[in-house]
Amino acid sequence: MNMNDKKYKKFRQREKRKKLNSLFQNLLLTFFVALFGFPIYWIFIGAFKEKGEFFHFPPIFWVNNFSFKNFTSALSLGGSKGVVDSLIVACIGTVLVVILALFAGYGLGRFKFGGPNLSFFVLSLLFLPPIIAVLPLFIIFRYLRIVDNYIALIWSYFLINLPFAIWLIKGFIEDLPEEIESAALVDGYSRFGAFRKVTLPLIIPGVVVSALFVFVFAWNEFLFALMFTRSNVRTLPVVLSELIGGHGIQWGELSALSLIAIIPGVILVVFFQKYLVRGLTFGAVKG
């Protein structure tokens, strides 16, 4: 056997190994996609199934009789109020957080307001487990007579999300060369005018990401919603939890409402994908 044959054999072996590796990788990926994707698929088909199909053995992995009955039933069982209330709380909370975080982030990032200590204090609030705040907040809200009111939920979501949003936007402001803003000031704009003309358009990825986070948090939040609301305000997670009753679980309605609950998140992520990547990796590549 000469050298070339040996080399060729090695080459063949290497190629074989590569193919095996890639096959293995693909199998692994498929497994994880299935692992995480299956529950969503299960919810999806569950939403369209009829009652009897849930308890069939062997399980039915496809919908035989498509029906929208689960949706109508779920919406009438408090689902529609859940969607509306969740939208109200999440939207108002998001807008408030973003507006305040913009100004606070600008102050901290541009003028180093309060020195490094204040901005780290803001960051440290991020590590506060929400449950610690539940009891004091409940007492405050009771005295203010806003338990079971939108304000209570909006206020608490605001509190939990503000530090993160400030920190994120502050990072974006710091990344922006100060001279660009100075140029706008010399051009004849006021501080706020320069902010609107130059700074804001350039930190949009940060604004979008913080808005998304706040919205998704408020949309999914269960603990505060359960504690601070009764009948006047009922967000989706609370309504969903009530479908799991003492007498049984309403699988069809649960699936249908869960499917509705997934929709806003998916839409937002699809629409704002390009900002999301930049926003989530911010600070990773500086230069």
Binding site: P177, E179, I180, S182, A183, A184, L185, V186, D187, G188, Y189, S190, R191, G193, K197, V198, P201, L202
Partner: protein, 365 residues
């Protein structure tokens, strides 16, 4: 008429004094240059005038109006930043229109002004592009257009052409002068390049570590540097500064540098003796005021010295000799060729010498 005046201006950053007692004024249609190395305080000065930095102490007047506490937008100045500071999300057109939009000019008037300045600066075809899509030279023109498009009290330029390559910089320097002349602008121009300062400036202020070294016309500054810092900053290569001792021997005066002595005329020595109270001093002489001779020249000031280094720089050659510990550079014609270690004599005219105090570094005469 006076457009800009700074009176006893100080700027401190914490304990660090960036500007110390700055005083100068700019006339109408004057191109005033602030020349200094990096860290001299040029940008700080410009930022204080534009209102981007506060003044620690002192007064700034624009058209005889005290502007210390005015916002940048109320000062009506325009500024070109060293690293352009173009708005990356706006097109070249929108970048240039920004100062006009800020004062709410009608759209058609804005358009007219932009087209005009774009034509002058030859960037008409770039108007629809984003800053990321144009070259460094084009960015520089764009930022210049943004600055010049509005009528300002004073145009502040912070090293506007420092980032361009040498060829483009040379070209822009000429255009700059022409533009200023045609549009009759009041410009305050900061640079670290003495060529820019001398070729552009009607008046030049030399700044070092926040302290004014000299103010004057380019000729004054070049011909009569106020101190060794200024002498060292100007010229390519800069003025030779040679430390030595003035000595009298048998009725004759000499300037001694190490073991080499150069004879000085009686009248010059007497004049010097009137003004100094120590024998140690520094003489300055420009490289092109020194002349090199291959053969022994009779009565040459420096005889029989060795060539220490010889550089060919295209249209001229630089010959170096060593006097004491100081390397002295001589600018000679390109036809003058010597090799290392060769013996030459060097001569100069006494009236070309500058004398500086060896301790303070200030000019004696």
């Amino acid at each position: 008429m006076e457009v800009l005046r700074l009176e006893n201006v100080y700027k401190n950053y914490g304990k660090n004094e960036a500007i110390k007692n700055l005083n100068f004024s700019c006339e109408e249609e004057e191109l005033f240059v602030i020349l200094g190395p990096s860290g001299a305080g040029k940008t700080t000065t410009l930022k204080m005038i534009s209102g981007l930095e506060e003044v620690t102490k002192g007064k700034i007047f624009l058209k005889n109006k005290l502007v210390n506490i005015l916002e940048p937008k109320d000062r009506n100045v325009s500024m070109v930043f060293e690293d352009y500071a173009l708005y990356p999300h706006l097109t070249v057109y929108k970048n240039i229109s920004s100062p006009l939009e800020a004062i709410h000019l009608p759209k058609d008037e804005i358009d007219k002004k932009i087209r005009e300045i774009a034509r002058v600066l030859q960037i008409e075809e770039l108007l629809s592009r984003l800053p990321s899509m144009i070259s460094g030279g084009q960015k520089q023109r764009t930022v210049l257009a943004r600055s010049l498009v509005k009528k300002a009290n004073e145009y502040l330029m912070d090293e506007p052409i420092a980032h361009l390559d040498a060829k483009l910089r040379y070209q822009m320097r000429g255009e700059f002068k022409r533009l200023q002349h045609i549009r009759k602008m009041n410009i305050l121009y900061a640079t670290h390049d003495f060529r820019e300062a001398l070729s552009l400036g009607d008046k030049v202020l030399i700044l070092n570590k926040g302290v004014t070294q000299q103010i004057g016309t380019p000729q004054e500054i070049f011909n009569k540097p106020a101190n060794i810092f200024v002498a060292n900053l100007l010229g390519e290569p800069p003025t030779n500064l040679i430390e030595g001792i003035l000595k009298a021997k048998e009725g004759q005066y000499f300037f001694e540098i190490g073991n080499i002595s150069i004879s000085l005329s009686k009248s010059l020595a007497n004049e010097l003796l009137l003004k100094i109270n120590q024998e140690k001093l520094i003489i300055g002489i420009k490289p092109f005021d020194l002349h090199c001779y291959l053969k022994q020249k009779e009565n040459a000031k420096i005889l029989n010295t060795e060539v220490y280094m010889s550089e060919i720089l295209g249209h001229y050659n630089i010959i170096s000799i060593k006097l004491g510990n100081t390397v002295v550079k001589i600018r000679e014609d390109k036809s003058f060729k010597v090799s290392l270690g060769e013996k030459v004599s060097v001569d100069f005219k006494e009236d070309k010498l500058d004398f500086f105090n060896a301790i303070s570094g200030n000019r004696i005469f």
